[in-house]
Symmetry: C2
Subunit: 495 residues, 2 copies
């Protein structure tokens, strides 16, 4: 069996010297995103498997760094790494009823092996691993001395999505970290929730430069099996939000179902309180593209750049080629670096590396060598700087410190003036359509508020993101039903 | 649904202060291995999923370092990282007929989703990803300028094993790297095979301290779809071998099936030559346990130790507790370090960290503080050394260099005198039963030698590992059938 015809068509779609991004980010965000993913070679959708993508080196190199930073933050806070099986027996998933109800529609099932021989039992490709971790918690945890028990795994998870695939944002397999912790009391578990938020700030904001707000989700939008759900919404330039890491205080039903008990200091057997936290690396990468990217293409914070320095020899001259190699060797000790020896023109090379988002580009010509100077292009500020050659390493150390922070500051501005108080459905609609987040008094974030939430969803196409953690006090009536408000909520459109 | 009864039984099996390894490695190797895996908390088999294990922090931390070293070696040689989907459509697997024949018996199939709704097409949990990579090679590769195309991925793969699970050695899901390369000629592809062998030496031997021999496998033992198969056999102390990374020059059937063609310098369209290389990190970890471990337990080379330094305060004294914290802070800048503040006795702590294989343990008591000395236990030589406190960092730098090399040298001795020339089946049997590798003249490593290989397998329980790469010349008759020998082969028992 050959697949010739299909394949060769595909070939025409790529171009080894892409012409750069043709769509302006603010004019057609969706097209811009598609072009960046394709032209920067981040992910390829042309594999013949619906809903799945092939992640390419330019994204994988960055996501590996993102994994490292996130795992290191977790390990510093005492989380230990595990690798659990990718498959979860159906009987495990069924143990907690609200959990299985929430996840069944999106589960892929393994039912046979070899020549269609039936398997011992039906197995799920993990959509998430609560029911695998807690089964082992039941074995490992025995005493209050074992608590808190802080575990995590780096893993790929699977959900049978039916909407169109959007690389990094929505596909049937994605890459995340799931951290699962058992605690002796609800109070300790809530402290874990706050620690998870702190981790999110350290990693997403301080390392990746992504601004977000943490909300407690309303009752109708909780994780299946959760008592309380908290989630970070990252703001897109177009005013929509993307849900990023969420952390959950689970109902004790999980601990009871898996018999996760400990002998407390008072000698009594008690059920643990469980929290789980799920930063999805491949989805956070989408926010890196969206928040930092511009009309030229990608912009990477230094810490997670797939390549930190690109060197472009601007003429094909032996002296220049020797110099670029000398410079490369020097930089190599400090940063990842590559010389562009492709057949493109110097101008094409400039555009290419700007599109690819490399933080620093060094252009070297004969004049620079004579003057003992280097022409450096920094992508964080999109400008050229000329520095004495001897100061190169000092300069790079400065850029390492500064460039990520510059991107972060530019991103932080996204939130400035983006939240507007509204008093009615009409005001809310106008506010949201103008790319802002609406804040309003709201009847209730318990189940009795679900009806008003539905109105918002149907009439405005937006969702209630929840309440702030530093609870804000409502002072009037619900913007939708005019009943006395019990909460102040934020409303936005989401991806 | 609760699982109480099953769980509580499990609980009795672990003990938080294990008594150390009770079996001598040379007396009952198999029991020794089981005990080390369990007592050092490397992997847990008590999850309720047949054939799968939960990898625990003490192995995961080490395997993450092994991944990093291996990936870095590949990247330095120009391989780029990808993440391909875990699922492969049945139609892809079927494209190369010998490949599907070889792998079908061990494939897990995904056939449904949600509430038993059928899926669009039957999907395999990847047993290996040739048919995913080469489909994309057909899209990505167009010209000789794209060659060599060197890709790899870090991935978990799945095989429906029916034999008993042995953590790290055999389970239904394991962790590996698969590198796939396309070349312009068979000659270039063979150079890749040699480069893969060099990578294996750099990583397995020079970094992990594991001695091995690379063999070309006989015709009946090739990878499904391979033209030539080469594999590294690591020697166990009991004389058996474990197959570690293998590298394959594939038949061009793959390139033809997936239409992986390039326009050569001469303007002609040609099919590429493909090689693939598969170091299985979780399996190599088994060799780390087996080759370096001793009667006390694990011994880790510094570079891949889950923890490099353990500090034991030998008395519960404020002055000692302050000193251990000061020392920890100093070491932290250079190595991973942990203070043992558990309730165990000093003696129990010593045994515990020796069992866990930590390269360096520092024991601190009041006397040491007075003398401004430190008592250091090094696991590579199993001996105590006393050093001036002020020399600590210099000492650790030395240990970082030396300890891995010492383990490597000790391991290298395993091969000394382990190969014995034999001339008959009887001699071969005796040789192999005494824990040696037999070398002999052999009729043929093409398919016409398969019959003699079967004799060896049935009567001696051993397999032909293949021929050395620096071909050795046969000088007589086949040790089994007495026909003129065309090859010199090595015979051993394997895991």
């Amino acid at each position: 069996m050959s697949m010739k015809s299909g394949k060769k068509e595909g070939k025409n779609e790529t171009d080894k010297t892409p012409k750069g991004i043709s769509v302006k980010k603010n004019e057609n965000f969706s097209e811009w995103y598609t072009e960046v993913v394709q032209k920067c070679e981040l992910a390829d959708l042309r594999n013949n498997l619906k809903g799945f993508v092939v992640f390419q080196p330019w994204s994988v190199l960055s996501m590996e760094k993102m994994y490292k930073i996130t795992e290191s933050a977790l390990q510093k806070k005492g989380h230990k790494p595990y690798w659990f099986p990718t498959l979860i027996p159906e009987k495990n998933l069924k143990i907690e009823s609200s959990h299985i109800k929430g996840f069944t529609p999106s589960v892929f099932w393994v039912t046979s092996h070899g020549n269609d021989e039936p398997i011992e039992e039906k197995l799920a490709l993990r959509p998430t691993s609560e029911t695998a971790f807690y089964q082992m918690f039941g074995i490992w945890i025995r005493s209050y001395k074992d608590l808190p028990f802080k575990a995590y795994q780096r893993a790929n998870v699977f959900r049978y999505e039916t909407e169109a695939t959007r690389p990094f944002l929505r596909s049937r397999e994605f890459y995340w970290i799931e951290a699962h912790c058992a605690h002796a009391s609800e109070e300790n578990a809530m402290k874990q929730v706050y620690e998870d938020m702190e981790t999110t700030k350290e990693v997403l904001h301080d390392s990746f430069g992504l601004p977000f707000i943490f909300f407690e989700r309303p009752a109708w939008d909780k994780f299946p099996g959760a008592h309380r759900t908290f989630a970070a919404d990252v703001l897109n330039p177009d005013g929509r939000v993307i849900q990023q890491p969420s952390t959950h205080l689970l109902k004790q039903e999980f601990a009871k179902a898996f018999d996760v008990k400990f002998k407390d200091k008072d000698g009594k057997d008690k059920y643990v309180w469980i929290t789980c936290y799920g930063p999805a690396i491949s989805r956070i990468f989408a926010s890196v593209i969206i928040v930092h990217g511009d009309d030229k293409g990608l912009r990477f914070p230094w810490a997670i750049a797939p390549l930190q320095v690109a060197i472009v020899p601007v003429v094909d001259d032996a002296k220049v080629l020797k110099k670029v190699e000398d410079i490369r060797k020097e930089i190599e000790k400090f940063a990842s670096v590559e010389i562009d020896l492709s057949e493109k023109s110097a101008g094409e090379k400039f555009n290419y590396w700007e599109m690819k988002g490399v933080p620093i580009r060094i252009d070297i010509g004969l004049k620079d060598i004579g003057a003992k100077k280097l022409t450096v292009f920094r992508r964080d500020l999109d400008k050229k700087e000329v520095i004495p050659e001897k100061d190169l390493m000092k300069y790079l150390e400065k850029i390492k410190e500064e460039s990520g922070k510059n991107l972060m500051k530019q991103a932080d501005k996204l939130f400035e003036g983006r939240i507007k108080d509204v008093k009615s459905a009409g005001e809310m609609k106008k506010t949201i359509e103008s790319g802002l987040i609406a804040r309003c008094n709201f009847c209730s974030v318990e189940m009795d508020g679900a009806k008003c939430a539905e109105v918002i969803e149907k009439e405005i196409g937006a969702t209630i993101r929840g309440t702030r953690l530093e609870k804000e006090k409502p002072t009037g009536k619900c913007a939708i039903c005019s009943k006395p408000a019990k909460a102040v909520v934020y409303v936005a459109r989401q991806y």
